[in-house]
Amino acid sequence: MPEITRDEVAHLADLARIDLSDAELDHLAPQLQVILESVASIQGLAGDDVPATSHPLPLTNVFREDVVTPCLTPEQALSGAPSVEEQRFAVPRILGDEQ
């Protein structure tokens, strides 16, 4: 039976960029374990002869002519931004001290 421990949930939350509290970890980890046990039933059901389907339509890439079409103005694009500076998205620092 697959196991998803509290520590593993904490690690996954870190990868998914969610700062879960201790209380949330206590609450979510056992629920995820139950869900995982349920979905784990499909392990090994289909063999190598069954192809995988990622999408219901048999799609290939879609291209358009390389011509300029109307798009959002800078004001529209920035209209929902939490912080704006000089017509740009203002964001917190992305590098650490040692970088």
Partner: protein, 498 residues
């Protein structure tokens, strides 16, 4: 209360065409109904009375000049809050998008605006469309207008409840695993999930790209056909949009209305019955199957063995896609930004914002998806789920070699009490047992009211499924069934009556 709100969209369109009413009058009638009952139902997250009335006045002016844009020009509509609307907030039921006003319209929203339908407001939903009860909305649940202590289904419980409560004649929903059809079933309304790719997803805030589809939520099959034809068709802004025209649905609904199903082959899905299916739901379902036989259909049992694994495959594929899709809510360009104390990095801000902005169900699914896509687990989980998807598509193909449409109950039970399954995610997921296979395969489906339960007096839905791009079959058989069953929903049966 104005009697106008009791009319179907098709009847309202006729009344407008005949000059018996105006769009302003009927839009105001629906706004009055919203003002009277939505405090109890909470179907709407945002109501745009001013905008709707101004669009209605413009519609009346056009019609006076003989310039109506569409049969439904002037008939008001409600829009699920997962579809972007210029000038109107779009929250997806989440705190992370609280107050966000999109700078562009979803293609389906543009289409209803271009056809002249006044938009009454945006409807409540489970956060990012994850749920079967609207209890995962960050803004509080919608109540079922039949009985206010019951769930209205989900994720599109707001759209279904608005239509069931006669607050709107039409609504738009989205269906990723049953979010149009299951709310339809438990509110006694009609809901359609079109063929994947036949209605544009541009401006639909994606839950799972390979599963999501926009569709109509109405009180009659004909109304769904009218709305479906309006919103369907190719869109260059959606790279998964099919080029096949979406036509013939209204004609099919009218043909079905004659009640003749001679020559139509119907398959009852063997796997969607038995343990886990409420006896009162099965009783109504079996009555519907008998009616199909009486209408001349040739009914046989069909086996689709892989459907028993559909839920497991779905709850790996969906979290995998949504964990990737929801990565865009990073607090950098739009949406909630929470800045922790000190000198936080962008990553610290993302983590704090996503913890504060997402609810429990969204966190569960993002973490599950992150797990399923992790190296070491990928083949065992996500890879297997994709193979099960192939097997389900093959089951559909084999079934449709034998029959024209498949039939099952839409939902395993009638509307359950609010709170009953909130702390048991797996029990909530079971609500979508019958609806999920169509999303995995891209096939179209409809839920039509089958009657009310002999146990609790609440509505039961019957689901019809057709092959890809054969949506018209749903309308023909659905309209025939609807006509033979007779009206299930009426305002006097609701807890929010006249």
């Amino acid at each position: 209360m104005s009697e106008l709100i009791l009319k179907t969209a098709a009847q309202l369109a006729d009344a407008l065409a005949a000059g018996e009413t105006t769009s302003v009058e009927l839009t105001q009638a629906h706004l009055d109904r919203i003002a009277a009952v939505d405090g109890d139902v909470h179907a709407f997250l945002h109501i745009d009375a001013e905008g709707a009335l101004s669009q209605a006045a413009a519609s009346d002016a056009r019609r006076a000049n003989g310039d109506a844009l569409h049969a439904l020009d002037g008939v008001p509509i409600a829009v699920k809050d997962v579809l972007t609307t210029t000038g109107l907030p779009t929250t997806c039921g989440s705190k992370i998008l609280e107050g966000w006003v999109p700078p562009y319209d979803a293609t389906v929203v543009k289409k209803i605006k271009n056809a002249g339908l006044p938009i009454l407001g945006k409807t409540n939903m489970d956060e990012f469309a994850m749920g079967s009860s609207t209890e995962h909305s960050a803004y509080g649940p919608t109540k079922n207008p039949w009985k206010l202590d019951r769930i209205p289904g989900g994720s599109g419980g707001g759209s279904a409840a608005a239509v069931a409560a006669f607050e709107a004649p039409l609504a738009l929903g989205t269906d990723t695993g049953g979010s149009i059809r299951q709310p339809g079933a438990v509110t006694g309304t009609v809901g359609v999930k079109p063929t994947y790719g036949s209605v544009s997803r541009y401006g639909l805030v994606a839950l799972a790209n390979s599963l999501d589809q926009v569709g109509p939520v109405t009180r009659t099959v004909l109304d769904s056909a009218l709305l479906h034809e309006l919103i369907g068709g190719h869109d260059p802004l959606d790279s998964t949009s099919t080029t096949t025209p979406v036509t013939g649905l209204v004609d099919a609904a009218r043909a079905g209305g004659t009640g003749d199903l001679k020559g139509v082959k119907v398959g009852v899905i063997k796997e969607l019955a038995g343990e886990g299916w409420a006896p009162d739901v099965m009783a109504k379902f079996n009555e519907s199957v008998d009616i199909l036989t009486k209408l001349g259909a040739d009914v046989v049992e069909v086996s689709t063995p892989s459907f028993q694994h559909a839920m497991a495959a779905y709850y790996l594929i969906l979290p995998a896609e949504c964990s990737s899709n929801l990565a865009k809510f990073d607090a950098m360009r739009y949406g909630l930004r929470v800045t922790p104390d000190g000198d936080p990095s962008a990553e610290d801000v993302m983590k704090a914002s996503r913890d504060a902005g997402f609810g429990d169900e969204v966190k569960r699914r993002i973490i599950l998806g992150t797990y399923a896509l992790s190296s070491g687990y990928y083949d065992a989980y996500y890879g297997q789920a994709q193979k099960i998807r192939t097997l389900i598509i093959e089951d559909f193909k084999k079934a449709f070699e034998q029959v024209d449409v498949l039939v099952s109950p839409t939902s395993p039970s009638t509307a359950f009490p609010l709170g009953a399954k909130l702390d048991d995610p797996l029990a909530m997921y079971m609500q979508d047992l019958a609806t999920i296979p169509a999303n995995l395969a891209g096939t179209p489906g409809i839920s039509v009211p089958a009657g009310v339960s002999d146990v609790d007096g609440l509505p039961v839905g019957v689901q019809l499924l057709a092959p890809v791009l054969e949506d018209a079959r749903l309308y023909r058989v659905g309209a025939a069934l609807e006509g033979a069953i007779g009206p299930v929903l009426s305002i006097d049966k609701l807890e929010v009556a006249r």
